[in-house]
């Protein structure tokens, strides 16, 4: 089922949680809403679910106006960060809840409900926990039960609010892959909210990057990583080196010294140069745009992470780069750096 969000504005007092947000989600997509806390991503999700109401705007689920219906009529599965399992019910009854509260006319008989719950518990691979209470489960198990409970009502869309936010790192990784494979199995249109870029890039088909109540960029994971549309996206996704530069007539200067790169069509004026850590080419002193002294090197796995104090420019600028280990760096060594790939954005303030 498709979801369409148009011109949504939501204010909490003077604070605009959502500032004119437009979004279209296609059938069967697994979309990530990614942003720092306070970016409005959870508010947007809750508005789609009917747990919050926008000040103005439109929400359409499958072309049908959703704002005319309350949350209980929208047939939307919602998974909460803190699970929100019913603490006084067994796992089985938690999953059965959505089926038991259906209007008498459409409610299934007990045998059908039991079969359906069994099927869902099998789907989340936790059928052996049916008679336990939520307090007896681990965090990862609770979240899988919460997902089974949301799926029980055969939702038109599935919304997940920071579904792995309360779990420890290892369980998170497992559940991520599990969610991906589950989605490819059942193919329900899903949106999940996260502040973890790795999670968004790894799980979603498409990523929506949000900041301060606005959508900064919508694209595939590769897109938002390789071609960030704004300075915010570049800084938020992936580790970036940010240097204050001056653009004038196609040339780029750092602290008065020209850099051997083109402005790439960036407008003249104070700007910011964004370079990925691994996009800095290392060379012997005197061969690149930038020069600096290696202050500190840590090597792990295939890379070495070096802290480099740039020479020249105003004050001391220290950057961190990731370099392959084919040429081991030494502390104290003077090297030159040349950005391989980079982006220049106008400095906003």
């Amino acid at each position: 089922m498709t979801i369409e969000v148009k011109n949504i504005v939501k204010k909490f007092g003077a604070f605009a949680a959502l500032d004119n947000v437009d979004l279209k989600v296609g059938k069967g997509e697994l979309l990530a809403l990614l942003g720092p806390s306070g970016s409005g991503k959870t508010t947007l999700l809750r508005i789609i679910a009917g747990l919050d109401w926008p000040d103005t705007g439109e929400v359409r689920i499958d072309g049908e106006d959703a704002l005319g219906h309350g949350a209980s009529e929208r047939h939307v599965g919602f998974v909460f960060q803190h699970y929100a399992l019913f603490r006084h019910m067994t796992v089985f009854e938690n999953v059965a809840f959505g089926l038991r509260v259906q209007p008498r006319a459409v409610r299934k008989d007990e045998a059908t409900i039991r079969a359906r719950v069994k099927e869902l518990l099998d789907l989340v691979q936790l059928d052996w926990l049916a008679n336990r209470y939520p307090s007896q489960l681990s965090g990862g198990q609770r979240q899988r039960i919460a997902l089974a409970r949301a799926l029980a009502i055969e939702p038109r869309i599935l919304l997940l609010d920071e579904p792995f936010g309360a779990l420890d790192a290892k369980v998170r990784k497992e559940l991520r892959q599990w969610l991906r494979s589950l989605h490819s199995e059942i193919h329900v249109t899903s949106i999940f909210v996260t502040h973890d870029q790795e999670e968004a890039l790894e799980v979603a088909n498409r990523v929506v990057v949000m900041d301060k109540g606005r959508i900064e960029q919508i694209g595939t994971p590769g897109d938002v990583y390789d071609n960030p549309a704004t300075a915010f996206v570049h800084g938020f996704i992936g580790e970036s080196i940010v240097l204050p530069v001056e653009v004038s007539g196609g040339s780029v200067r750092l602290g008065g010294r020209p850099l051997n790169i083109t402005a790439d069509g960036a407008a003249s004026g104070a700007s910011k140069l964004f370079v990925r850590r691994h996009d800095m080419q290392i060379g012997p002193a005197g061969t690149g745009s930038l020069e600096g002294a290696v202050r500190h090197v840590r090597s792990f796995g295939p890379i070495q992470r070096a802290e480099i104090a740039l020479t020249g420019g105003e004050g001391k600028t220290v950057i961190e780069i990731d370099a392959p280990r084919d040429r081991e760096l030494q502390a104290g060594e003077i090297i030159s750096l040349q950005p391989r790939r980079y982006r220049i954005f106008a400095a906003q303030d």
Binding site: S72, F78, F80, H82, F86, R87, F97, Y133, A152, I153
Partner: protein
């Protein structure tokens, strides 16, 4: 020397470290350790008060409770049974006594029932929704606790009495509120209103609205959400509030005394009858009724202790990782 060692507990868990740790405590114990290397001096535990101080504090508390709680309770039962068990039951079987017991039970049933309803609604509104004037409402709920019960009773006299605001209208329509069951029930409801709401508000606030949101997103209606999710989550807190409400409703004297009119066999509740019988020197009968109220108090106390344990479980969000 002897006072120095008297606080040392020989089975202190730190015994193994005594020779090093003890050295840091005082020169006295250090000297002692040198003089008698076999006797291991445990370090003094500074986390708690010295033994004698603890003993005095506990003894004070126990004797206070004995004088002010246990002794009166014993006196009540002793006086009630002073003329033998048959006199005790005869006093309780008096028509006046039976009428008072009936009235007390009736009033308690009415006020507990209504306050259960009002209390749940008020707590629900306060804990789960935001609306202007919420703080004022919370303050208002506490009002009966801060007003003297006699004043509370007097308010009803001013409203419903013959000289009151609605007195003439009520008389004209032959409706009896004051000096009748409705007045007594109203006064009791007023005085006992805060119990249910007060015991539910913190509980419901602590539990938040997440489970309700989950229920609604699963298609549950408002009523289904309340009866299937909210109510089961607060049941022990609710019982706790009802218990306290009931104890107060049955024991209320001041407010009821003002509105009752003391019509014998008609508008006397148990506490009122206790006073009347006592003033008439019918000590056995008076203490017999009083013993019933005392037993109610004891039962309430036991049930309350059990409920408090359950309530703790309810308050700790059992499926919350935080």
């Amino acid at each position: 020397m002897s006072t120095q060692t008297s606080f040392v507990t020989p089975e202190a868990p730190l015994k193994a470290y005594a020779s090093t740790a003890g050295a840091a405590i005082s020169s006295l114990s250090r000297r002692e350790a040198r003089e008698r290397p076999r006797a291991i001096a445990s370090p003094k535990d500074f986390r708690t008060e010295p033994g004698p101080v603890r003993f005095v504090i506990v003894a004070l508390a126990v004797s206070f409770l004995t004088i002010f709680v246990v002794l009166p309770l014993v006196v009540v039962f002793a006086s009630a049974l002073s003329k033998g068990i048959s006199a005790y039951f005869a006093a309780l079987a008096e028509p006046e006594a039976l009428s008072a017991i009936r009235l007390t039970l009736l009033v308690a049933a009415i006020s507990v029932g209504l306050n259960l309803l009002f209390g749940v609604i008020a707590a629900w509104a306060i804990a789960k929704f935001d609306f202007p004037g919420k703080t004022f409402l919370v303050t208002l709920i506490d009002l009966p606790f801060s007003v003297s019960p006699v004043i509370s009773g007097l308010v009803f006299v001013l409203l419903f009495g013959a000289q009151g605001y609605w007195g003439t209208w009520l008389q004209a329509h032959n409706i009896h509120i004051l000096f009748a069951v409705p007045g007594i029930a109203l006064a009791t409801i007023f005085v006992t209103f805060p119990f249910v709401a007060r015991s539910l508000i913190p509980l419901m606030q602590e539990q938040g609205t997440l489970e309700e949101e989950a229920a609604i997103s699963l298609g549950a209606s408002g009523l289904q959400t309340f009866f299937r999710v909210t109510l089961p989550n607060i049941k022990w807190g609710l019982l706790y509030g009802v218990l306290l409400c009931n104890a107060r409703a049955m024991g209320e004297f001041g407010a009821v005394s003002v509105v009752s009119g003391h019509i014998r066999g008609e508008t006397n509740t148990m506490p009122l009858l206790v006073e009347i019988l006592y003033n008439e020197y019918q000590f056995v009968a008076s203490f017999a009724i009083a013993s019933l109220l005392a037993m109610l108090a004891l039962i309430t106390l036991v049930v309350k202790t059990v409920l408090e344990q359950r309530l703790d479980e309810e308050l700790i969000p059992r499926d919350d990782p935080r």
